[in-house]
């Protein structure tokens, strides 16, 4: 029997699954921190507590799970074997140490380049470098020269650029190498991180998976090609501006507009796929995904509002920045990961337990290995969390923000329970 193309390229279950487990732990710690320090959401956004929560969410949860998921998805998207599983294990261990030291450093934050931040930042840069090598080497060996591959390569390079920029920013606060305000670097850190790394990665993977999951054959790839140029132009422009003291504000606005145009094209691509889909009913994994894509539109609006408030009305940084950050990091990234967990994790675990048993014994299907009712529950409570954050932060109501953090903790716990059900799956055969 001739082998199919992708299963033989699939990585070991042991490469992928620990990322989801550690990611869920990172998410839960960040959620508990959020409840304990809920009042900080109503204040200035650069505080030890907010920095700890943000970095736990981004590095300990979002990037952790994305690393794991990508090791599984690279073979699907690029039709190639992952370059090195050993490198993937090394990346994971170094990343865990990095997040631990960085967050513990932030908790003692006094705008100094502390020992822990230096060590954490260095570990993270090494981990990201190893991850980038693994991704880029896999991409180089890929026979499929698609737009997906191009987006994923670009996102790997931006990730590397962004962690280096993050570390430089913190060091510059202590050593003052360049006479540039840390807030100027922070703007670029956000643009490169959100648009360069995360958005481009999501577009690269979604370009391949959304049509696959929804059964659509003819997609508007032309929109993604145009988007690729626009987002790259915007991100590179923001990066260059970071190094120019007192650059004209309008130039930064232009870089954001370019990224925004790319986001609109991506949303248009998805709308086209959704409207042409043969599989009308959304399954457990696609519901949170659809919610997350809607929140992306909302997060984009919030960032535009932040920018207009800052550039044209001189509003001080504060609640709106935090709301925009929550909509992007929790609303979009986390919502998307919640949904895509159920489109990736069950399959690698199912292959591990049942691949050799199909046809010989009755086996469950991947969709029967988790509780769909729990998926619906954490999707509804996720929407409630977002609504509470929007109301609490816009109207500055302390107890609504507290309620938002509590519902967020509940949501994330339900997700973690369901993910654990998958991770610690017990073989079922009849």
């Amino acid at each position: 029997m001739e082998a199919g193309l992708s299963t033989k390229n699939a990585p070991s279950v042991w490469v992928v699954v620990p990322h989801f487990l550690i990611g869920a732990i990172g998410l839960l710690i960040a959620s508990v921190f959020s409840v304990v320090h809920y009042d900080h959401f109503l204040g200035y956004h650069i505080t030890p507590e907010i920095l700890s929560i943000t970095h736990l969410m981004i590095l300990g949860w979002v990037i952790m799970v994305i690393f794991g998921a990508l090791y599984q998805l690279i073979p699907v998207v690029m039709e190639v074997k992952l370059y090195s599983e050993k490198l993937a294990y090394a990346t994971l261990v170094i990343m865990v140490f990095g997040v631990f030291f960085l967050v513990s450093g932030f908790l003692k934050f006094d705008f100094k380049f502390t020992h822990n931040i230096a060590m954490g930042g260095t570990f993270i840069i090494i981990a990201v470098l190893l991850f980038a090598i693994n991704t880029l080497k896999s991409a180089a060996a890929s026979p499929k020269k698609s737009i997906s591959r191009l987006y994923i390569i670009a996102s790997g390079l931006y990730l590397l650029l962004n962690v280096s920029l993050g570390l430089f920013m913190v060091m510059n606060m202590s050593y003052h190498w360049l006479p540039i305000a840390h807030t100027q670097f922070l703007k670029t850190h956000l643009v490169v991180g959100l648009a360069g790394w995360f958005l481009m990665l999501i577009i690269g993977v979604a370009a391949r998976l959304m049509p696959m999951f929804l059964i659509v054959h003819k997609t508007r790839e032309d929109l993604l090609k145009k988007g690729f140029y626009l987002i790259n132009a915007g991100v590179l422009m923001a990066f260059v501006l970071a190094w120019i003291p007192n650059y004209p504000t309008l130039l930064f606005a232009l870089s954001l507009l370019l990224v925004l145009a790319g986001v609109i094209l991506f949303l248009w691509f998805n709308y086209d796929v959704f409207s042409k889909r043969m599989r009308k009913k959304l399954d457990a994994g696609m519901k949170p995904t659809a919610v997350a894509l809607s929140i992306l539109a909302l997060a984009t609006l919030a960032f535009i509002a932040v920018y207009i408030g800052d550039a044209f009305f001189g509003l001080p940084a504060g609640r709106l920045e935090i709301l925009a950050g929550i909509l992007m990091i929790y609303g979009f990234f986390t919502g998307l990961i919640f949904g895509q967990t159920y489109k990736t994790l069950p399959f690698i675990i199912w292959l591990f337990y049942y691949q050799k048993l199909v046809g010989k014994q009755k086996t469950p299907l991947p969709g029967q290995m988790y509780n769909s009712k729990l998926v619906n529950l954490h999707t509804y409570s996720f929407v409630v969390t977002i609504l509470l954050f929007i109301i609490g932060l816009l109207f500055s109501i302390k107890y609504v923000v507290l309620a938002a953090t509590l519902v967020m903790l509940f949501t994330n716990t339900v997700y973690a329970i369901n993910a654990s059900k998958l991770i610690f799956h017990k073989k079922q055969t009849k």
């Binding site: 001739e2 999951f213 059964i215 599989r279 009913k281 199912w350 691949q355």
Partner: protein, 106 residues
């Protein structure tokens, strides 16, 4: 090539293959239109199936083919079963049967 006419015996093979689901979409591979050709030779005791996958990157492709191989070996004892993976013509959603479309949206 996609076979459009099936003998009674070949139809029996298709009915058996309806036990094999695509684990992702949870619809059987016959109604998804993944089976292109079925040929049985009773004298030589051979059974050959040409099938495709909905995408070359299909992460569960091998397990679907393994499933096809196993159910045919169990149901046609004594036959040499051969499952060929083909990519021409390329699968499109138009190949899904009405029954498959109904199952997709249940």
């Amino acid at each position: 090539m996609i076979q459009t006419q099936f003998s009674a015996e070949e139809q029996k093979v298709l009915d058996i293959l309806k036990q094999v689901p695509d684990p992702e979409v949870e619809v059987n591979i016959v109604d998804l239109g993944l089976i292109y050709v079925v040929s049985i030779n009773d004298e030589a005791k051979t059974l050959e199936v040409d099938m495709t996958l909905s995408t070359p990157g299909c992460p569960v492709g091998d397990s679907i083919m393994q499933h096809v191989q196993t159910v045919l070996e169990v149901n046609f004892p004594g036959y040499e079963v051969k499952v060929n993976l083909v990519w021409e013509p390329q699968w499109t959603p138009d190949l899904i049967t009405d029954e498959g479309r109904a199952q997709l949206n249940q």
